[in-house]
């Protein structure tokens, strides 16, 4: 009845954005008749619109395929997809933990990138066998031999006989399938032992509730099994188990070595935590699978409805997104400038952008987003430790003993000609140089330690522009370090605007204050009166700009035939004003709160 575990292969594909992961997955599904070519929506694994537009995969999912090998046997392949961005590092590590092997796809015209490298290390750390594959060999600029050597030098795995393929044309993809059978070990595990299933992703379905995507390490799960989360102790009755082939297909049971989903009428994905181990309630496993972590928000920002009347709509939208995204956190907050809204926590900047974009696009909300902040540790003179994710809540300088800020270890891979400008960028952003390795004669791997708050605004954009798009970047949180930080405030027409406050390093405060004040001057439209724009640290003004007053706001002509048109024009102008936030006496465009803080480093 159960599939012979020796014929199962569980694997992921590791690739840099645009190196061809999704295309290769599509070809594999076609070759194994998992999906007919004509039914295939382009790049099936990327199901959300935003993912597709950005060419990246955000939520992992998995597909079961059956492969008829030349040895005459039929193998079950479970391809587990991994998110391709640094914000989702933990999710990647759990997806990889569900596999025995990984296919490393490298673009023959590009070579290895920083993120790829980080994920390969994760795979190696998880004990996976890595099968390198050289993609895009059909392109004239392909250099498969150079890239193979790079894989050997940088990663230290043999790549001499790596399949050279074109996922686009399908060339040699069959060889990849055959090599997976040979390279990736079969899963081990005892189907009769107490259940141990690793949740590597989850998804909310309106009818089935929260679904857990799992890899079964030991035991068997079927409808009716009472399961228990080993992280939370919560128990549920399984209503359905199934696989993705490539859409949901219920099966009788999932057993050791297999990959699939479990439905158990769970109300929200917040109760199905990635990395958690599911076991049987009646016969629990002695210990959970290793590696579970509570996902912590790294970046916070305030999200407000552009029109205060839509607060409830925003809350409802966040509630809905939260159903499917356990890593999103939010709580009510009030801003003097913006009214009622939410302090939202994200895994990283990309995660933040995706959520705000989904709120605007899927829920049709106009939002005001404040500048992102990281989480600071503040130690007060009276011995308390405060955790601050909103600059407004920072106590007076006089009460603070010292502060700490989050620090990341950053890896930057770049053609060597851009090393100078990138090092300058890192220095400008308070980076500490760790080391530099030559991967090849003209490519280097730079390591820096950087404060997280320096890379959350526009570091990535600057890196890309300084390297003409060639440098790639990866980072991981490495802890907290003491730092001389101050709160930089902005005053519009003499009134402080809390939504613009930001915490910055003391040495950067003057430059930042000047740059932001200048930018505010440009984005705030001229109004009836002159508006002083000031940057301040405490009560000290460090920069001042002026938005000049509108001189003439009057239509030169208005005669008998102009009345209807004139009234319409006034209505239109009033609508335009509605898209502005009134901060004290000053109207500020909704997008200014975020955009002004993007100052190129």
């Amino acid at each position: 009845m159960n599939f012979d575990p020796n014929l199962i292969r569980n694997f992921s594909i590791i690739a840099h954005i645009d190196h061809g992961k999704s295309t290769l997955a599509d070809r594999m599904m076609e070759l194994t008749d998992t999906v007919a070519k004509r039914d295939m929506e382009e790049q099936l694994l990327d199901s959300m619109d935003i993912e597709r537009e950005r060419g990246i995969t955000i939520k992992a999912s998995a597909v079961r395929m059956f492969y008829h090998h030349t040895d005459g046997k039929t193998y079950m392949f479970n391809l587990i997809d991994t998110p391709g961005h640094v914000d989702f590092n933990y999710e990647v590590s759990r997806a990889l933990a569900a596999c025995e092997g990984a296919v490393l796809v490298v673009d023959a015209t590009q070579g290895i990138e920083a993120q790829t490298l980080a994920n390969v290390y994760l795979a190696v750390d998880n004990g996976l066998e890595v099968l390198p594959v050289i993609n895009k060999v059909d392109l004239p600029s392909a250099e498969p031999e150079r890239v193979k050597k790079e894989i050997e030098d940088v990663i230290g795995i043999p790549a001499e006989d790596a399949p050279c393929i074109s996922a686009k044309t399908g060339e040699n993809v069959g060889e990849v399938l055959a090599r997976i059978v040979d390279t990736v070990p079969a899963p081990t595990g005892d189907p009769d032992a107490p259940l141990k299933a690793l949740i590597f992703d989850c998804f909310y379905d309106n009818y089935k509730g929260a679904l857990s995507y799992v890899r079964i390490f030991d035991g068997t799960v079927k409808p009716g099994t009472r399961i228990r989360s080993m992280a939370t102790g919560n128990e549920f009755d399984v209503t359905e188990v199934g696989v993705f082939a490539p859409t949901w297909k219920p099966v009788d049971s999932l057993t050791a070595g297999e990959v699939g989903y479990i439905a158990a009428s769970i109300k929200s994905v917040a109760e199905t935590k990635v990395g958690d181990t599911i076991t049987e309630a009646g016969r629990p496993a002695k210990e959970a699978l290793p590696g579970y972590k509570q996902a912590n928000s790294m970046v916070f920002c305030g999200i407000y409805p552009a029109d205060g009347a839509h607060y409830d709509d925003l809350k409802e939208a966040l509630d809905k997104l939260k159903l499917n995204d356990a890593s999103l956190s939010y709580e009510h907050e009030t801003s003097a400038a913006l009214g009622y809204g939410f302090r939202c926590g994200f895994l990283g900047l990309l995660h933040m952008e995706i959520i705000t974009e989904r709120l605007e696009r899927e829920f049709d909300l106009d939002l005001v987003t404040t500048a992102p902040s990281v989480v600071y540790h503040v130690y007060t003179l009276d011995g308390r430790k405060l955790v601050i994710d909103n600059p407004t809540n920072l106590p007076n300088a006089a009460e603070i003993d010292y502060m700490e800020e989050p620090i990341v270890k950053a890896t930057i891979m770049t053609p060597s000609e851009y090393v100078g400008t990138i090092m300058e960028l890192c220095q400008n952003n308070r980076g500490t140089f760790v080391d530099m390795q030559y991967i090849e004669a003209d490519r280097v791997n730079l390591h820096y330690v950087l404060p997280l708050n320096e890379i959350i605004y526009d570091f990535f954009d600057s890196l890309k522009s300084r390297s003409r798009g060639y440098a790639s970047f990866d980072y991981e949180l490495s802890g907290y370090a003491k730092s001389e930080l101050v709160r930089l405030d902005f005053l519009l027409n003499g009134e402080m605007c809390d939504a613009l406050s930001t915490i910055v390093h003391k040495d950067r405060a003057y430059a930042k204050g000047r740059a932001v004040a200048e930018k505010l001057k440009d984005v705030i439209p001229r109004q009836q009166f002159e508006i002083p724009v000031q940057a301040a640290i405490g009560s000290k003004i460090i920069a001042r700009e002026t938005v000049k007053a509108v001189r003439k706001d009057v239509l030169a002509k208005c005669y008998g035939g102009d009345i209807t048109r004139k009234k319409k024009l006034l209505e239109k102008q009033k609508e335009g004003k509605k898209r502005m936030r009134q901060v004290g006496s000053v109207a500020v465009p909704s997008d200014a709160f975020m955009s002004v803080l993007r100052i190129n480093g």
């Binding site: 009836q528 009166f529 000049k548 509108v550 001189r551 003439k552 706001d553 009057v554 239509l555 030169a556 002509k557 208005c558 005669y559 008998g560 035939g561 009345i563 209807t564 004139k566 009234k567 006034l570 209505e571 102008q573 009033k574 004003k577």
Partner: protein
């Protein structure tokens, strides 16, 4: 008492900034005169009791039609409605479209005010905005008009033109004032969508002075006009004492007027209700309706009291004198300041009200510079607020 406006939609050539209803003169011009005559006859039946205190022929360029056509239309108006003996009867003209003979004819027919479109005195600026005449041709028209007997003449000037400097504009004012016309209109250029100039500017082929430079021109121009004896009585209009345009004052006082001709707008009292309607805005559609014996109306809306109040504010605040609070009260039964208290108070904070005469709601010069912003505040008041 009403004002009558007659729209003549023909020009020698359309200027680059113009978005009025006008076309180069063509074969429809012959039928146009009889269509307007028919419209007058139909209007007489519709408004048998109307009495006329001003008539204004505008365009386009009315003088693109032969003077006899204009005289025939004026005669028909007189035949249809009682026209006050001292009525102001204006006609717009552009240089190069009419000479002494024609002007003489208009004068004898009863036209007593002439408005000449000049815009600038520098020929390079005139060319750049697509005017068909040069300054010297204007001068010829002006002296011909004087000789023909026109004593009440307006000259149109513009500022904020492409390539124009403050010195150019002030020069134009001095030059024109030296001719001693009774009235000068001084408009800021309005860049209207759909005009060739708009396309040129938005596509970078032409540049306008920046808004601050235009504002400087305007302020310097106003001061100079005042100094030369032309007092400002409306946002863009200046006159020697007693020569304010009575026809245009009808609009700014929100009084009724009847518009004749293609694309003309009217605001009349019908069956006790104030209505606004517009005529067909294409010449063929206009001609067709009248040739079938129908009034050429395109749209007609009822203006409720609440909208009338706002319109009275919108138009009345354009006048330097402001809104006569008693007249407003007599018409609507409420005080304008009390009715729009919030807007009034808000703008009082900017010192936009001139309170020297409590009988008037009047803007200061700074308030007039921000009239549209003031009006947006008045517009916040909704009909429903009256029921609270």
């Amino acid at each position: 008492m009403i004002g009558v406006y007659v729209h003549i939609p023909y020009c020698l050539k359309k200027c680059r900034y113009c978005d009025f209803c006008s076309v180069p003169i063509d074969e429809t011009a012959g039928r146009y005169r009889s269509a307007v005559l028919k419209e007058i006859a139909l209007s007489k039946a519709r408004y048998p009791n109307a009495r006329v205190k001003t008539v204004f022929f505008g365009g386009g360029t009315p003088t693109a039609l032969p003077a006899e056509d204009l005289c025939a239309i004026l005669d028909a108006i007189r035949a249809a409605f009682p026209v006050e003996p001292d009525a102001e009867i204006s006609v717009e003209c552009n240089p190069k479209t009419i000479g002494f003979e024609g002007l003489r004819r208009l004068c004898s027919a009863g036209f007593n005010r002439l408005s000449i479109g000049l815009q600038a005195t520098q020929n390079d600026l005139l060319k750049r905005i697509g005017r068909v005449h040069i300054y010297e041709e204007f001068l010829a028209t002006y002296s011909a008009a004087r000789d023909a007997g026109f004593a009440n003449i307006n000259i149109d000037l513009m500022h904020g033109l492409p390539g124009q400097t403050e010195a150019d504009y002030l020069d134009a004012i001095r030059t024109v004032a030296a001719l001693a016309p009774a009235h000068i209109s001084a408009y800021a250029l309005i860049l209207e969508e759909g005009t060739p100039l708009y396309d040129d500017v938005t596509q970078g082929r032409e540049t306008l002075p920046d808004p601050d430079a235009t504002a400087d021109m305007e302020d310097a121009g106003m001061a100079l006009l005042e100094q030369l004896g032309y007092h400002r009585y409306e946002v863009s209009n200046f006159a020697k004492p007693g020569y304010e345009c009575r026809h245009n004052l009808i609009y700014w006082h929100n009084e009724p007027y009847l518009g004749l001709g293609v694309a003309a707008h009217s605001s009349m009292v019908e069956d006790g209700f104030r209505v606004r309607f517009s005529n067909e805005n294409s010449i063929p559609a206009y001609l067709k309706k009248l040739e079938k014996g129908k009034l050429p109306r395109a749209e007609r809306i009822l203006i409720n009291t609440f909208e009338q109040m706002f319109e009275s504010v919108m138009l009345g605040l354009r006048l330097v004198k402001g809104i006569d609070r008693k007249a407003f009260f007599d018409r609507f039964g409420c005080d304008v300041i009390e009715t729009y208290k919030e807007a009034y108070d808000k703008n009082a904070r900017f010192d936009y009200w001139d309170r020297t005469d409590p009988a008037f709601l009047r803007l200061t010069p700074a308030g007039m510079d921000h009239l549209d912003s003031v009006l947006r505040d008045f517009r916040e008041r909704r009909l429903i607020d009256f029921f609270r």
